[in-house]
């Protein structure tokens, strides 16, 4: 195997895992939000691929291109529901995309980040599908290949419905299954309480053991209490 073959082998096994995760979310009724602030043609291409498949007879899946000029976090915080998917095609330096991705666990959404060049930090998204190239045109061509394959493999997964119902974690470390506290995003603060968004929906949590948080902060909550502010200065 050449170095290129090894990179492609890694990429395709990442694509396989992401596709199964997508199929499970779609199967359970999730919607896919497609974002690409710098390259709107990619978000629109991903969305139309899933909504209106090129192969007759394949089911139309709910995928939405988020307009490039939207405030990503503000829109997705309100519109994306638990069980949804956020797919981004964006460089690692895109701060709006990074901010949306790191809220994935608090919102209860599956996150997929497609890009090229320097990688985002580890854990920036649940699925990081990354190309080694720094050539912007080559990257753009290969992004199309990647989301075409994502679509094709997702539909292959639909032929294995027994595996779609399974909710076994595909990840080595799963924050939702662990006991260290659930991630939550602060929507509003009222005295020693905060209204937060978690994977379970909207909740009111006690904030008396942490410094007063701000809307947009990410907290860890445990048994009705905020125990850590991940965004504390």
């Amino acid at each position: 195997m050449t170095a290129d073959d090894l990179l492609i082998a890694d990429l395709t096994s990442d694509l396989a895992r992401a596709s199964l995760a997508l199929a499970r979310r779609f199967f359970a009724g999730g919607t896919m939000w497609c974002v690409s602030p710098d390259w709107p043609f990619h978000s629109h291409h991903v969305a139309v691929e899933f909504v209106h498949p090129v192969i007759m007879g394949k089911r139309a899946l709910p995928a939405v291109a988020v307009p490039a000029d939207e405030d990503l976090v503000a829109m997705l915080r309100t519109t994306a529901r638990t069980g949804d998917i956020v797919v981004a095609v964006a460089p690692a330096g895109d701060e709006a995309v990074a901010a949306a991705m790191r809220r994935g666990d608090a919102w209860g959404v599956e996150t997929v980040w497609i890009g090229a060049g320097p990688r985002p930090p580890a854990g920036a998204a649940k699925h990081v599908l990354w190309l080694p190239t720094d050539d912007p045109l080559q990257a753009s061509e290969q992004f199309v290949r990647m989301y075409h394959l994502l679509w094709e493999l997702t539909h292959v997964c639909f032929e294995h419905q027994g595996l779609l119902k399974s909710d076994d974690c595909l990840d080595d470390v799963c924050i939702t299954c662990s006991d260290e506290g659930r991630p939550a995003e602060v929507l509003a603060v009222e005295g020693d309480e905060a209204l937060v968004r978690t994977a379970e929906g909207r909740e009111r949590v006690d904030t008396s053991v942490i410094d007063t948080p701000h809307p947009g902060d990410l907290l860890l909550v445990h048994a009705g209490s905020a125990i850590t502010n991940l965004d504390a200065a």
């Binding site: 395709t12 096994s13 596709s19 043609f41 090129v54 419905q161 027994g162 076994d168």
Partner: protein
């Protein structure tokens, strides 16, 4: 899971249903095959179309140098290819920016024309409004058969525009039409693989255009 009467006919289903590891391995193998297929089609297409791409780029450079602008269009995924091509032309990673835009992005114009007349003239109607004889029309289609592209090419030809089409399969109606002066056809019968190779053709066209623009500039 309750046993079904027909289970004995399909003993393998039960095993597959619980074994995501083997499914993931199959998916990865299938993706690797398709990735390699796409890479081969890209190379074969650029080799086969090399001369046509350079010829089309020369004609484009003449138009741009004379003050022409480019209109790109397509339907569905191809509309996003048109938008990407227009973006590369106007905001290139290097080289000379040239005026270009997609006719598939203004939802007010698209829905007005489609609602009042019909979707088959959404691009041709815009060319009537915007285009001048020295301009360039570039249409993207995987089938090569879209009605609204054929209408746009006919209108463009009538108005003295340079016409370039990116098609798939055997070129379809675009490949056979005199209205499409340069038809760049990706010989494949998979819509996805065609689109992937068309992205490479569009980039090669842009690259060849940059070479032409530099030579013109030096002359």
């Amino acid at each position: 899971m309750s046993p079904e009467a027909s289970d004995f006919l399909y003993p393998f289903i039960e095993r597959e249903e619980t074994d995501s590891v083997s499914l993931l391995a199959d998916l990865a193998t299938s993706a690797q095959g398709k990735w390699a297929q796409s890479t081969r089609l890209r190379v074969d297409t650029l080799t086969a179309l090399g001369f046509q791409i350079r010829t089309a780029a020369t004609a484009m450079a003449e138009r741009f140098n004379a003050g022409g602008q480019l209109f790109a269009f397509g339907n569905g995924g191809s509309s996003t290819d048109a938008l990407e091509f227009a973006r590369v032309l106007t905001r290139p990673p290097w080289g000379t920016p040239v005026p270009a835009r997609s006719l598939a992005v203004d939802q007010a114009v698209l829905t007005a024309i489609a609602n009042d007349v019909g979707f088959e003239i959404v691009f041709s109607r815009q060319l009537i409004a915007y285009a001048r004889p020295g301009d360039i029309a570039v249409g993207f289609s995987t089938s090569g058969n879209s009605d609204n592209l054929m209408a746009a090419f006919a209108e463009a030809r009538k108005r003295g525009m340079l016409t370039i089409g990116l098609a798939g399969y055997d070129g379809g109606r675009m490949g056979a039409s005199d209205d499409v002066a340069h038809c760049l056809t990706v010989r494949s019968d998979s819509v996805h693989r065609i689109q992937e190779a068309q992205a490479a053709v569009a980039h090669a066209l842009w690259d060849a255009l940059q070479t032409e623009l530099r030579q013109e500039g030096a002359a």
